[in-house]
Symmetry: D2
Subunit: 134 residues, 4 copies
């Protein structure tokens, strides 16, 4: 995400006095990973291999997750946590499916990597929120 | 959802020998509730009241949930459970926000009802899956 | 779409004094056809036949079209016309692809019918808008 | 979009022997501009100013456009042209609405710039396709 737009978002969130203290750099990394994962999954689903249904689900979940982080005014920490859990589970499964043919499909391999990166970024986001809450 | 299309989906799921036994009528009701909730939230977000951000998040989550149920080949029971939890949490929050001005806004009141119905349908779906698994 | 919600939408549009006079029943039919087409295409893309990429594109375009009609405050007649043209072109192509194997796939046949219905509804909407403008 | 993934997409498109010769660098720029515009519009719609409905419409159209370019196997040149026209019209309108308060809202100003960039990239894509067809 554009860094200037990110600064604007941070200001908005401060003005809204949101009860969740966010590490904005962790959140920015997470939004970027979601966006990259949506794109990789969209391309990978075009391979028409058996990972395609998982890729389509993962693309939609990642887009919803990314938009949710851009609209933090419209949720709470527990809702965000539940969405992060869903996104992590979806990315994990999609990664596993794509890894099954990572050896003979470069696209699947790259999609699995994007899923892994998104999963890691969501976990980092979750941890960051739990530390802020404690 | 069209009942003939629903029959086709059921057959596909049987052919794919999915490990999760679904009560297809519960799933159909859940997809319909997600669709109705996406629509109500989309209209409600146009009211530009303070529930708007929650409504936008809820519309996206419900659409992702509905599509996920139509693409069960691309997930597993645990992934589905995590997505249902996220959808329930999101609907609950959106309902709460919309209920705050249900008295002076008919649209918010109807949106809150659609959120409640979607939340209930997702809970019924979760229960149905847990019973099948036990 | 729920008829009570539809009434609310109509009132909002009147209050916003939108320059486009809409036949609300034509618009409601169009939104319903878009929603049904998104669902049929989502299920059909799971067949993993050669219509799958068209079905995925069509599902997304129909969802964007439906939401756009629910957010008429955020567009103008010419923008709406351009979106209707895009949706009609997409549905037409998806219908053609699905019709190629309508004989041996019930899902493709039903998807083609949903595409046809959506295309017709978008054309009716376009005509209704052109009559209102003249 | 990741450049390695872009290379894969190009290869797939060649293998599918698509009748439209694409300048892949123009298409990559267009997908990136759509993605940036979806994000800017999503953030801008949170400002709850009068551009919000346009921003929501624009975010959805840009996402559908981006995904469509990643799934060229599922459309034809005329369908793509119609979608580009719709995206251009939507971006233009959103830009105009956001420019109305660009002086006192930094987010609206940035959103207008993202809309402009997306509109230009879609126009370049359209031109590139017309030159290839002639």
């Amino acid at each position: 995400m554009d860094s200037m737009m990110m600064d604007m978002m941070s200001k908005d969130m401060k003005m809204a006095d949101m009860d969740m203290m966010m590490d904005m750099s962790v959140m920015q990394a997470c939004m970027d990973a979601c966006s990259a994962c949506e794109q990789a999954c969209t391309v990978c689903s075009m391979q028409m291999m058996d990972c395609a249904p998982a890729c389509m689900n993962c693309a939609d979940m990642c887009n919803t997750m990314m938009r949710g982080m851009m609209r933090m005014q419209g949720m709470t920490s527990p809702v965000m946590m539940a969405m992060l859990d869903a996104c992590i589970a979806m990315c994990q499964y999609c990664m596993d499916k794509c890894m099954e043919h990572a050896n003979h499909s470069e696209v699947c391999k790259m999609c699995a990597q994007a899923c892994k990166a998104c999963m890691d970024a969501c976990m980092a986001m979750r941890e960051s929120m739990m530390m802020a809450a404690s």
